[in-house]
């Protein structure tokens, strides 16, 4: 059925259909609509699940961890400071190999007090062992949330998944949404070692120097295996429901001389800039990495690359630009734009490409030249 929905409502709808056993969450702008809607589904009997209201995000992740250890399917949503407050527990969820699914509505961290889109919150969780995916439309937010449960709970993965959508820009925009009947697309959750009072066991006991690295190595092995699981899940989703996205979405990139690389809604709006540039005779294209962890293999050989980062690593540079440089052994024009919800139009993106200076960094709105 096709309707008009916000990104937040689309996520809530997907979560309802994924039937988590436990949802534990704390409200925070601009995510609140997700957990409010899910709480209403549970209160009105549209979703049979246990909603655990908590006093903080640290506790919401802790509750998801406990429930997941017991073998439950779990979900939470957060943003910005909420995610930062969770940080100790996000490490624990990944290290304990618990397939928690979380939607993070990307928002800047204070100060200044800012509720608008920025990717720094998710990027600060980059190295915790969570799979991270950035979506760009209401439909993609819905589809990816459904897929996230299947991917996280797959025996070759068993790692938590974080679905990221841009605060307000995507969480609050209303776009067409086609919902599906998932049926058995998401099989029942089976974790390998659920708590069983009949067979008591230890969880999270001390692990010495002789063993800890083995657990870390296994996490990375699963992260690499996740690439195939993501591919299979996408294929199955496409077979059943007719939509697929890929690890990265390319637009007119095949024969392009210059490509724009950006995450989320900026990566989607870049496609409009590509059309404008092509009309001017500039062979432009765009590549929008959907998955950030595991990071996809991108074919950028022989192309000039303009990377837009909606994040920054102080004392180093744009984090996506760094990833592209190191993975593809290429120089890029690194544009820092869209921080704290800064307005970036397709015309601005076209300007970045026209005036690219490969090897340099440019802060949109700060530097006096484009």
């Amino acid at each position: 059925m096709r309707k008009i929905a916000t990104g937040n409502k689309a996520v809530a709808e997907a979560v309802k259909q994924a039937r988590p056993d436990v949802v534990a969450a704390y409200p925070i702008t601009p995510q609140s609509e997700i957990v409010e809607t899910i709480a209403e589904y549970i209160a009105t009997g549209k979703l049979e699940s246990q909603f655990i209201p908590v006093e903080s995000e640290h506790s919401s992740m802790a509750a998801c961890i406990g429930a997941s250890i017991a073998g439950a399917r779990t979900f939470t949503a957060t943003s910005s400071h909420g995610l930062a407050y969770m940080h100790e527990m996000t490490n624990w969820a990944a290290g304990a190999r618990l397939p928690v699914v979380m939607v993070n509505v990307n928002r800047a961290l204070a100060p200044g007090w800012n509720i608008w889109a920025e990717h720094s919150d998710a990027i600060q969780e980059r190295d915790t062992g969570w799979l991270q995916v950035f979506v760009s439309t209401v439909q993609e937010a819905y589809d990816t949330t459904l897929m996230a449960f299947r991917i996280a709970e797959h025996t070759d993965v068993l790692l938590p998944v974080m679905v990221n959508l841009d605060g307000f820009t995507l969480s609050h925009i209303m776009q067409p949404l086609d919902t599906v009947e998932p049926g058995d697309f998401i099989p029942p959750v089976h974790t390998p070692h659920p708590v069983d009072p009949a067979h008591p066991g230890g969880y999270g006991t001390i692990t010495g120097p002789a063993d800890q690295f083995r657990f870390r190595y296994e996490m990375e092995r699963s992260m690499q295996q996740a690439k195939a699981v993501i591919g299979e899940t996408e294929q199955e989703f496409a077979r059943r429901f007719g939509r697929a996205y890929g690890a990265a979405e390319e637009y007119r990139a095949g024969d392009a001389d210059v490509v724009v690389v950006a995450l989320g809604t900026l990566g989607k709006e870049a496609e409009v800039a590509v059309d404008i540039l092509r009309n001017e005779g500039i062979k432009a294209g765009s590549v929008r990495p959907r998955w950030f962890r595991p990071f996809p293999d991108l074919d950028l050989a022989g192309k000039e690359v303009v990377v837009i980062d909606r994040d920054y690593s102080f004392g180093f540079g744009g984090v996506l630009a760094h990833a592209i440089r190191s993975k593809n052994l290429t120089k890029v024009y690194s544009v820092i734009a869209g921080l704290g919800g800064q307005e970036v139009t397709y015309d601005d993106i076209a300007e970045f490409v026209r005036h690219r200076r490969i090897g340099e960094e440019f802060w949109f709105g700060v530097n006096d030249r484009v």
Partner: protein
């Protein structure tokens, strides 16, 4: 792509009007997006919402800087906001007003949405509801079909007074 900017005050239903408009466009078989601009506004402050309608999927997220149509739900915002800012050459203005209003260089249309809402007793917390009658007025301008205007309103509201208000606006507006 057809781009609409809606000016209202927080709490007057500008966001819901945008949503209804997008839903009606969807019922017409088109693609549409609606987004409020979220700033630090609160109830009563001037606010804007954006609607884009196209025959193809819409990939634009940034604000509308050059609208084809400006909708003014509350004329008093014109004291503090330049509602014509960026309006395209040949663009149109619709204003909620009992009397014709002049906008130099632009075609202007009006309907007394407030009067229509009061006549149907569509009042919430002392404020007349403008978001459903405006959909009827915009159907008269040909932005959406009258049938889709009605079906979009029914999809969101069970109270038939909303449909009657939209129909009244459609009837009373002179194009």
């Amino acid at each position: 792509m057809y781009e609409i900017r809606i000016h209202s005050r927080g709490g007057q239903g500008g966001v819901t009007a945008a949503r209804l408009l997008a839903t009606a466009a969807l019922h017409d078989g088109k693609f549409a997006t609606a987004c409020p601009f979220y700033g630090a506004e609160r109830r009563g402050a001037p606010v804007v919402s954006f609607v884009r309608i196209d025959d193809r999927p819409i990939k634009v997220y940034s604000q509308i800087h050059e609208p084809d149509l400006v909708v003014v739900l509350d004329a008093s915002v014109m004291d503090v906001v330049d509602v014509l800012h960026g309006l395209k050459t040949g663009g149109r203005v619709f204003i909620n007003s009992a009397h014709p209003r002049e906008f130099a260089g632009f075609a202007a249309h009006h309907a007394d949405l407030t009067g229509i809402a009061l006549k149907e007793n569509l009042v919430v917390s002392g404020s007349p509801i403008l978001n459903t009658p405006v959909i009827g007025a915009l159907a008269k301008l040909g932005i959406i079909s009258p049938g889709s205007a009605t079906s979009a309103i029914r999809e969101m509201f069970a109270d038939e007074r909303n449909v009657r208000a939209a129909e009244a606006a459609y009837r009373e507006m002179i194009v």
